[in-house]
């Protein structure tokens, strides 16, 4: 599992495919999620650029793409079960599968260990 500073996670699932989502810490900061707009299958997303919009009880904000690539799958279950984002953000609440433009881009992400340190302010 890899993480970004803006609290997205990425998990390689074989080949150049990876599943992405919002981390537990991210959900904690965002609060209860009420709405979400995901990109359509086939959309190109760009490293650190907004790729989805999310609304919590408080505010709305963008999610930032952890890597560049193409959306090959989205979690359709979220359209009726948005609570999964709060109850299981790093599991059943995943957002999309991305075909990475380059595997090397994983090097720009934080490992689980460094993410933990980042959250604790030890960077």
């Amino acid at each position: 599992m890899y993480y970004t500073k803006t609290h997205e996670w990425l998990k390689p699932i074989g080949g150049n495919l990876a599943r992405i989502g919002i981390s537990k810490q991210g959900i904690e900061e965002l609060g209860t999620i009420e709405f979400m707009e995901l990109p359509a299958i086939g959309t190109s997303i760009k490293h650190e650029a907004p790729f989805a919009q999310i609304e919590s009880t408080k505010v709305s904000s963008d999610l930032y793409a952890p890597v560049s690539g193409e959306v090959t799958e989205v979690n359709a279950e979220l359209s009726s079960e948005i609570h999964l984002l709060n109850s299981d953000p790093e599991g059943a609440g995943w957002l999309a599968v991305i075909r990475l433009d380059s595997l090397e881009s994983l090097a720009t992400l934080m490992t689980e260990e460094s993410y933990k340190q980042y959250i604790a302010g030890e960077t």
Partner: protein, 307 residues
Amino acid sequence: MDTLSASNKTGKLRKPPWLKIDRRVTATHERVKNVVKNERLATVCEEANCPNLHECWGQHGTATFMILGEVCTRRCRFCSVKTGLPRTIDFKEPNRVGSSVAELGLKHVVITMVDRDDLPDGGAKMVVETVHAIRRHAPECAVELLTSDFMARPADIFSIVDTKPDIMSHNIETVKRLTPQIRSRASYERSLRVLEMSYEHDSSVTTKSSLMVGLGETVEEVVEALQDLRKVDVSICNIGQYLQPTATHLPVQKYYHPDEFALLKGKAYELGFTHCESGALVRSSYHAGEDYESFRKKIHPLYRNKG
């Protein structure tokens, strides 16, 4: 953008465009975070899940410190600060706050606190200690205090005012009618009384109060609240949109439009406030440093001449 929309289909109000925040993290943000974590300080920015955190920490390099722990003895229905039985007092906290203010190079700091109804002095002594510590470590820094009501005990309030904070702030939070439903163990009159006591004790200390809108009040009621604040000589007021912290907190009744915030600001100036910030994301401590600068320019001709 072609999108797949997901929603919980509960008929919740969608967010207006002016309530969108930028969550990107800057190096300045990380610097603030590291100081906060290393010094084991609590911030209301984090505890209240403030929507401005990325801007305040990331763009302005500032945070609002919350002293006396992160557990509050009251349970207001708009607030997401943890509530319960607080921990014992950390007597070294004032010093860590002071040194952190210096380390961050702040020119203006807002210090707030949880309610400590469990302590005989409500935590007043620790507030005083914290101001002293900031003055020691960062004598140039303006200090803005945002305190609880101390049940309007004169001794506690006077001891704090006697430290001569640059701003003494206490929030009425909402209009008179909604106070009992929204705030816990607080009263509208008592809050006004606290502000009045501060001013009567030392009128050279500027007083400030903030309130949230969107909880079901009418504009007339907001204006009435502003009038009440003016009656006790409050000179700065901030007005912001109430935002629901979690699903279990009070739902938002209305999102005010930026034009409506502008209207309220105009009203505030009409009523004689020297300074008013009014806007969706305005919080008591939002842009507090910049506002204080502009406030000082308005009241001190000499300061203005110095430019």
